[in-house]
Symmetry: C2
Subunit: 310 residues, 2 copies
């Protein structure tokens, strides 16, 4: 048996996992991301933590297949990042630096893409090789897998589906500076925004309270039979289902995997989105499957491991 | 020097080209597509025509690197087509049948995808490996190349960009049965439709005539300074530029190559679309290049040759 490490570097913590070569997660832990001083200690800290783990396991370097690294920013095909603001990094050759620290196979990729790979490898998209993975959190993130490979794109912005335009009439500005992006409607922030607007203008009785609004509150109220909440949820299903329909004629996925905080609403969310998708989708995409993400915050380390395990 | 053939099978004719192994087109010709009797003569006709050409050239089978075949319908990764209505075919193992007719390397792919490969190989997208190729004809077709490979997708419908939804308020029905598809605005048919609506409701003087409307008439009139035509063209630029902006955050191309009959309007079209794209696009996609397709109806045979030439 040989081993590999998955290392998912974020702006606050680095999530790390030790995997067997068949993809079994043996152990996972976190270290702090030391982003001060232009983040120069981050990779040495990672290497130190891995070396300690190897020592504790009595693992030799020749038992190590490699280390997959996820970065919160664009990564080119040589494992170089042009700039990663969250980590304090300017241009950095992550692959070469990690190889110098631990001489093994090093693969580096964007965190959204490795999370999508993780869901394909061991999560909601197991068994498929053409996937759209959507993360509904503070924003709307995406990862696209085509033929088992992450779609990185020319500038590393492949799969940035939160910024497709879904409403040309929007007057409020998205975080990206444009107007009418999917993220303004389908993120936790977006659902909260729309719910406040609705509740303020709607005269009907509702348990929803504008002073304490959240995506969770909307879906909870919907499950309790609140009609105003159900209408807000329905608008969300229509918006996301329609957006997935447009994305599907472009990349034609076998399965859409939905994760992120908003997806904790569970099956009711999945069914709502899938129902609307089936109503509006192009004929060739009608049998596209839908699933909830299964790995949560571990998707990244699984996907990093997948960069090593072929 | 070795050789290959590009064979682009359409519903009316089969376009064929003989290429040197460096991609130089030596000769091209067409034969009729005999779609009667479930199209069973099409592949034998192709094989016969290639054998005649080889004989005329004094070419041996060992000088032949292979034959690339483009099909007007979905093709799976084994070279099998599930059904191709335009050719009268049901399920057909094109790769095996062609190999039995001429024992050489046979590769089979969808015609829109090979046309996109052709533009990458020898046309407007030369030198790039992440491309969006848009064909503005009777409909709006698309081909997507990621890392030099056509994005086929799970059902063979990758790149069907004519059917992304760009207007949720549309009341007229698209050919696909849905409403508000890009094709309803950006195809030759779509521009003609919008121009008729505009001219009928607009009181200003214009050279445009609803009884003889076409995309060409609109762009010709625009170039002559017709203000109504210029406004119709501007709406088209906005619609297509915005759609390309949304597609770009999904697949992140290096270059957008625009072809098809409508693109004969030339630089004025390219500049209009690119200008609007730059106004509305996501920051990471701002430097995406734009070019006109260069190969016209030959794109298919070049792309078929590219299936063989690696």
């Amino acid at each position: 048996m040989s081993y590999c490490y998955g290392v998912d570097i974020g702006g606050t913590t680095v999530k790390m996992g030790l995997f067997e070569s068949d993809g079994t997660l043996l152990e996972k832990w976190e270290i702090k991301s030391r982003v001060e001083n232009e983040g120069k200690e981050i990779l040495p800290d990672v290497a130190k933590s891995i070396k300690e783990n190897m020592k504790n396991k009595g693992m030799d370097l020749n038992e190590l297949d490699g280390i997959g690294v996820g970065i919160p920013g664009p990564v080119n095909s040589d494992g170089v990042v042009p700039k990663t603001a969250n980590l304090g990094w300017g241009k950095k050759d992550v692959k070469s630096e990690m190889t110098a620290l631990i001489p093994t196979k090093i693969e580096v990729a964007n965190d959204a893409n490795v999370a999508a790979l993780g869901e394909m490898f061991s999560g909601g998209g197991r068994g498929y090789k053409n996937l759209l993975v959507i993360t509904l959190g503070t924003g709307v993130g995406g990862g696209i897998i085509i033929n088992g490979q992450a779609l990185v794109g020319e500038h590393g912005s492949g799969g940035e589906i939160g910024h497709i335009t879904v409403n040309h009439l929007e007057t409020e500005v998205c975080g990206c500076g444009r107007k009418g992006c999917l993220e303004q409607y389908a993120s936790a922030t977006g659902i909260t925004r729309l719910a406040k607007i609705k509740v303020e203008s709607d005269k009907r009785e509702t348990v929803l309270d504008t002073s304490n609004m959240s995506a969770k509150a909307v879906f909870d109220a919907m499950k309790e039979g609140d009609i105003v909440a159900a209408e807000i949820a329905e608008e969300f299903f229509e918006c996301l289902g329609s957006a997935i329909s447009s994305i599907s004629v472009i990349i034609d996925p076998a399965i859409v995997v939905i994760g992120g905080g908003v997806s904790r609403a569970g099956e009711v969310l999945l069914e709502g989105v899938e129902k609307h998708f089936k109503e509006v989708s192009f004929f060739a995409n009608k049998d596209t499957k839908f699933a909830l993400a299964e790995l949560g915050n571990d998707a990244g380390i699984y996907g990093c491991a997948k960069l090593i395990i072929s």
